[in-house]
């Protein structure tokens, strides 16, 4: 019991929560955007991998860290465009296209990585984002180190939650996006082209996914390896359901998952005699339980996964 309290009482654990949550926040917001306009994007796992690779490669080739983030966002947007053209313009199956993009983007990332770094057994490293203590705020006891001594991309992710929450619910563009996910015919009848809106939104969402991937290589770790996304993309897809398609709840979900993850990592080191795989499972099992609890209240965008063709009834 005291072991648990020790873990829960340590500042390091809570500081890790926000760090682990950051790529999930980016990814979840990305999936959320796509689904809000009615398109499932299972390309996320591959797009995150590609973002991780491109971000890393940009910095490795001498670029600035922020240039790396930007490159990851652009790379994500390009894959988003591919997904959009196939699913929105041609109306192909969103599941199949998304999985295809994940397979393609993952392998392509590894391919490019091998071109750039042909030989070497230990992956080369870059100088990652350093924690940036917010002047003043980081001095606050307990909260300071947990919330205000993070890397810059983490602050960006948190800011994006607010921006998206505001954007979706307070701006005309956000309203049009939500309407597109509910009934693209209605949007069209109001003189907005739902197809262009979908394409643009998917690109933006995929850019966020790319940045989530880049966080892994440029802040959480400092090098790239092909399997590093490790299912985080899939977690994001589930978190969006948990979040009931709302940005604020998406943040909550990401934090919850990250909490379980940070917790099990520390449990592994203090509890003996239990196979560590059981601890690894913990966050996933708890996520599934949380998902079941929430999903019953879910109000799915009504037009999710329904292609829209113009000039048809």
């Amino acid at each position: 019991m005291s072991v648990l309290l020790d873990i829960l009482g340590s500042v390091g654990m809570w500081e890790a929560v926000l760090r682990i949550a950051t790529p999930l926040i980016f990814g979840t917001l990305g999936v959320l955007l796509c689904e809000r306009v009615g398109v499932l994007n299972l390309g996320i796992e591959g797009i995150m991998t590609f973002g991780a690779m491109v971000g890393w490669l940009t910095v490795y080739s001498g670029g600035d860290l922020w240039l790396g983030m930007l490159a990851a966002a652009l790379g994500g947007a390009v894959f988003g465009l591919l997904h959009a053209v196939l699913t929105v313009v041609f109306g192909l199956s969103q599941h199949v296209t998304g999985l295809g993009i994940t397979l393609f983007a993952s392998s392509f990332s590894y391919y490019v990585f091998r071109l750039a770094v042909p030989t070497s057994s230990s992956p080369p490293t870059v100088e990652p984002f350093r924690a940036y203590p917010v002047p003043g705020l980081s001095e606050i006891p307990v909260l300071g180190p947990i919330l205000f001594t993070q890397t810059a991309p983490t602050y960006l992710a948190l800011a994006l939650v607010a921006v998206l929450a505001y954007g979706l619910y307070r701006t005309p563009l956000g309203l049009a996006m939500r309407m597109t996910g509910e009934n693209p015919h209605a949007v069209d009848a109001q003189g907005i082209d739902p197809i262009r809106l979908r394409i643009g939104t998917i690109m933006a969402g995929s850019a966020l996914m790319g940045m989530g991937g880049a966080f892994l290589t440029l802040a959480a770790f400092n090098s790239f390896f092909p399997t590093m996304v490790q299912g985080r993309g899939w977690i994001c897809v589930a978190l969006v359901v948990f979040a009931l398609w709302r940005p604020g709840r998406a943040l909550l979900g990401a934090l919850l998952f990250a909490f379980f993850d940070a917790f099990q990592l520390r449990l592994q080191t203090v509890v003996d005699g239990v196979p560590y795989q059981l601890f690894l499972m913990l966050p996933y099992v708890l996520s599934i339980l949380a998902l079941i609890a929430m999903a019953r209240r879910a109000r799915v965008p009504q037009a999710l996964m329904q292609p829209y063709r113009r000039g048809e009834r």
Binding site: P172, H185, D188, P301, R313
Partner: protein, 512 residues
């Protein structure tokens, strides 16, 4: 008079189907024009072209003298054209205000001005007497209210020309009446309107001028004052139409019996202690304003729901289980109320839709394999026998006009030869000719000994087809009266929940 709208020589083809051929139409300021035509005549297509949803193959659209660029709804909206679609274009999970405001502000504005939007909406709602709650979720509204939202949406965009595609198809008689009162008021205030309807009495009472389309062409244009219902019906169909006569019934054994059934509403009104009997060879009409439990009753009989209390006996036995396969196996056929949601699967082909309900029957599958040739032949027969226009065996059913979809469903049900037929609002959205056809088929089914449970809001239909009539009010059934005793006044009383006269008539019948 100023001409606000001109359609010039519009032609539109969908593959082999010519939906509009050389159609010209104009509209003066403050005028109400009714557009009339059979199912599949091309009315919706024409209006969709005008609104920029479809692009015409030939011809042009001019609003106040200015040509509209083809295929751009935005331009049509800017020019002051508003459209109320046949299938509502609303987002159920959003609020009324959100539905109305979408696309009305510049997309790149950093803040949506809801307060101003709400003020404008409330002002319009007041001015035209269209009551709505701006914060209500559209999914919680009745169809009548959705209709109002659709009209407000158009008015909010400062429409001067308003197009309504079958606005009353899903409204109750009272709702329709108040809608037309509103429309006339709008016209008096300078709006110009085109509305589509299959109901001739509406056309006669609400329009200034009537344009009749047949098979994509304008076949006639009349001043409303100088024409009659009969002439319009004939112009529309190309021949005189008459609804069939009902011969006296020869009721047989009890096929279906509900004993004190109660059933909590499944998203619709609930049933509270419903009892009735349906005999072979008779039609039992259930009349009522929608939302009084009809949907639940239809669902109960077709096996969608099991009763919470009481029993439903089919040919004297309670079914082994209350589900759809058992209901179908017991010989129940259904014509569902909402053909898009419950009657068809839009993206599947006509033949799949035609046989899906009975795909396990040996006719259509054996050893787990679908017998396509047989299924397609059966579909072809339905298309031919039931005059389903515009349908091809492999075409997606979504592309059919509403009325033709209904004919296909009717054909599908009747060719299976059900013992018990449940028909919920069977002629909703159908033209005069098609209604006569549907009625004929329903009478035929009864004539060969099926029991028909007819659920309808239409007085004429219920009186014309039923042998006995009950009203449904708040989930309860009134006593049954013979159709001979029914008139609009008595049925009106029954639908309002005043059953004293009906009870007396039922008692008289039993005393005899």
């Amino acid at each position: 008079m100023t001409r606000v709208l001109e359609l010039d020589h519009i032609t539109k083809r969908f593959g082999a189907v010519t939906a509009n051929e050389d159609v010209s139409l104009h509209l003066e300021k403050g005028e109400i024009v009714a557009l009339l035509g059979e199912n599949g005549a091309g009315k919706t297509t024409l209006m969709s072209i005008l609104f920029g949803h479809y692009t015409a193959d030939e011809g042009s659209v001019r609003v106040k003298g200015q040509a509209l660029p083809p295929g751009k709804s935005r331009a049509a909206i800017r020019a002051g054209v508003g459209m109320v679609h046949q299938h509502f274009a609303l987002a159920p999970n959003l609020t009324v205000l959100e539905n109305v405001m979408t696309g009305t502000e510049s997309l790149w504005k950093l803040r949506s001005d809801r307060a101003a939007g709400r003020a404008k909406l409330m002002e319009l709602s007041q001015r035209f007497g269209l009551k709505v709650d701006p914060e209500a979720r559209v999914a919680d509204l009745s169809v009548g209210e959705c209709q109002r939202v659709e009209i407000l949406k158009a008015l909010y965009n400062d429409a001067e020309v308003l197009i309504l595609d079958e606005p009353t198809a899903v409204l109750t008689a009272q709702e329709a009446e108040s809608l037309f009162a509103t429309l006339r008021e709008m016209a008096a205030k300078g709006l110009s309107l085109i509305f589509i309807s299959h109901k001739l009495h509406e056309v006669m009472s609400a329009s200034d001028r009537v344009v009749v389309l047949r098979r994509g062409r304008v076949v006639a244009e009349r001043e409303t004052a100088e024409t009659s219902k009969e002439e319009l019906a004939e112009l529309m169909v190309g021949r005189a139409v008459q609804r069939p006569e009902r011969l006296p019934a020869r009721p047989g054994a009890v096929l279906l019996e509900a004993v004190d059934v109660s059933l909590g509403g499944k998203g619709a009104a609930s049933l509270r202690g419903v009892s009735f009997r349906l005999h072979a060879g008779e039609t039992l009409g259930i009349i009522g304003v929608s939302g009084n439990g009809q949907t639940t009753l239809a669902g109960l009989v077709s096996g969608l729901y099991a009763p919470d209390a009481g029993a439903l006996l089919i040919k004297g036995h309670a079914p082994a289980r209350y589900d759809v396969p058992h209901a179908i196996a017991a010989g129940i056929g259904r014509i569902p109320e909402d053909r898009n949601a419950e009657g068809t699967i839009g993206d599947m082909s006509t033949w799949e839709n035609a046989v899906l309900e009975r795909i396990w029957a040996p006719e259509f599958s054996s050893g787990g394999m679908v017998r396509r040739a047989a299924a397609r032949a059966a579909t072809e027969a339905i298309i031919r026998d039931y005059d389903v226009r515009g349908a091809s065996v492999d075409g997606r059913i979504r592309l059919l006009s509403g009325g033709n979809m209904q004919k296909l469903i009717l054909g599908r049900v009747l060719t299976a030869g059900p013992d018990i037929l449940i028909a919920a609002q069977p002629s909703r959205g159908l033209d005069e000719g098609a209604i006569a056809g549907v009625h004929e088929r329903l009478l035929e089914a009864r004539g060969r000994g099926a029991g028909v449970l007819l659920i309808s809001e239409d007085l004429d239909e219920v009186i014309g087809l039923s042998d006995r009539i009950r009203a449904i009010v708040g989930g309860r059934l009134s006593p049954a009266i013979p159709a001979e005793r029914a008139d609009a006044q008595l049925l009106g009383l029954m639908m309002a929940g005043d059953w004293t006269a009906a009870e007396r008539i039922e008692a008289e019948g039993e005393a005899k």
